[in-house]
């Protein structure tokens, strides 16, 4: 029984050794045969065009390097393309285009340094509220986004600079309402009246409603 299992192990080892050995032999044989073809083609090229050796030496041209260089370029392009496609593949492409403002473009002036280093105002057309790169040459200050002119009277519908963007007092529009609904009145749980707010009239619970008799 033990000899049988031993024999089986030997046969298994012989099988794997044979398998890899044969594959290695095949590879070596293939490599040798194909290398002969490669050398023949190279010799034929130089035999047909004997001036190539001088040209290759003069310009340091290596045919194998040409192939490798081409492969490197193709690989780099593929890697770059895959990298750029990642945001789209995960479904979150980055949006960098600024939103157009409802009041359109406005003519604003900004200082621009001329060739002599003096700063002169130059009229440019920009979108109000859109950050604009400002040249900081000679000013010694970091560039700041261009602020729109303070003509709030012209823009009655324009929200204020402190305007909420989807939030009111730290709460999202989409957030579910509070449990007791008192926070929006400045009250806390169990507190029916805010002591800091003067009473204007009676609490709605104290109001008596006169119902017309006869109606149901």
């Amino acid at each position: 029984m033990q000899s049988n299992s031993h024999l089986g192990k030997i046969q298994l080892m012989a099988f794997w050794t044979n398998l890899f050995g044969k594959a290695e032999d095949k590879y070596e044989t293939l490599r040798e045969r194909l290398t002969v073809h490669e050398q023949n083609s190279q010799e034929q090229l130089h035999a047909t065009h004997p001036h190539l050796s001088d040209l290759f030496a003069k310009h340091q041209i290596d045919l194998r390097q040409i192939r490798k260089q081409g492969v490197r370029i193709a690989t780099a392009a593929a890697v770059l393309g895959a990298f750029l496609a990642i945001p789209h593949l995960i479904g979150h492409p980055s949006v960098t285009t600024p939103r157009p403002q409802p009041n359109g473009g406005k003519e604003v002036t900004r200082p621009v340094a001329d060739q002599s280093g003096r700063i002169t105002p130059t009229a440019i057309s920009t979108q109000a509220g859109t950050p604009v790169e400002q040249s900081s040459v000679g000013t010694g200050t970091p560039s700041q986004p261009e602020a729109p002119p303070s003509d709030s009277t012209d823009q009655p519908d324009q929200p204020s600079s402190k305007g909420h963007q989807g939030h009111i007092h730290g709460r999202s529009y989409l957030a579910p309402p509070k449990e007791h609904g008192l926070h929006d009145l400045g009250l806390h749980r169990g507190q029916l009246k805010n002591p800091q707010v003067p009473e204007i009239g009676p609490h709605p619970s104290e109001l008596t409603v006169n119902k017309k008799e006869g109606k149901t």
Partner: protein, 106 residues
């Protein structure tokens, strides 16, 4: 595309033929590289035969600088309009020889 004539010289036939040997990936691609180099020499031989010797130097320098530039093909067509057919014929002939060699070892 790695060089400008790659679309005329496919390695799929050779690749499939070597696949029959079920070699490890590294060995498989090493053999493909040798075949690719052989085809490279053959194609370059045909190209240089088809264009004047006076422009060999210019072409080789440009090819060395920008191997994948498709403008090389347009340049070659100035001298030989059917250069694509010539390249394809040379590549097919070489591939046939190599496939016979490979399949004889199976």
């Amino acid at each position: 595309m790695s060089v400008f004539y790659d679309h005329l010289v496919g390695l799929d036939d050779i690749h499939n033929e070597i696949l029959e040997f079920d070699l490890p990936t590294r060995q498989h691609y090493h053999l493909l590289q040798i075949v690719d180099s052989t085809l490279h020499h053959e194609v370059l031989n045909v190209i240089l035969l088809e264009i004047p010797v006076a422009v060999h130097e210019h072409f080789l320098v440009e090819f060395n600088n920008r191997p994948g530039d498709p403008a090389h093909l347009d340049y070659l067509k100035l001298f030989r309009p059917n250069i694509e057919d010539k390249i394809r014929e040379a590549a097919d002939g070489t591939k046939t020889r190599l496939i016979q060699e490979i399949s004889s070892l199976r």
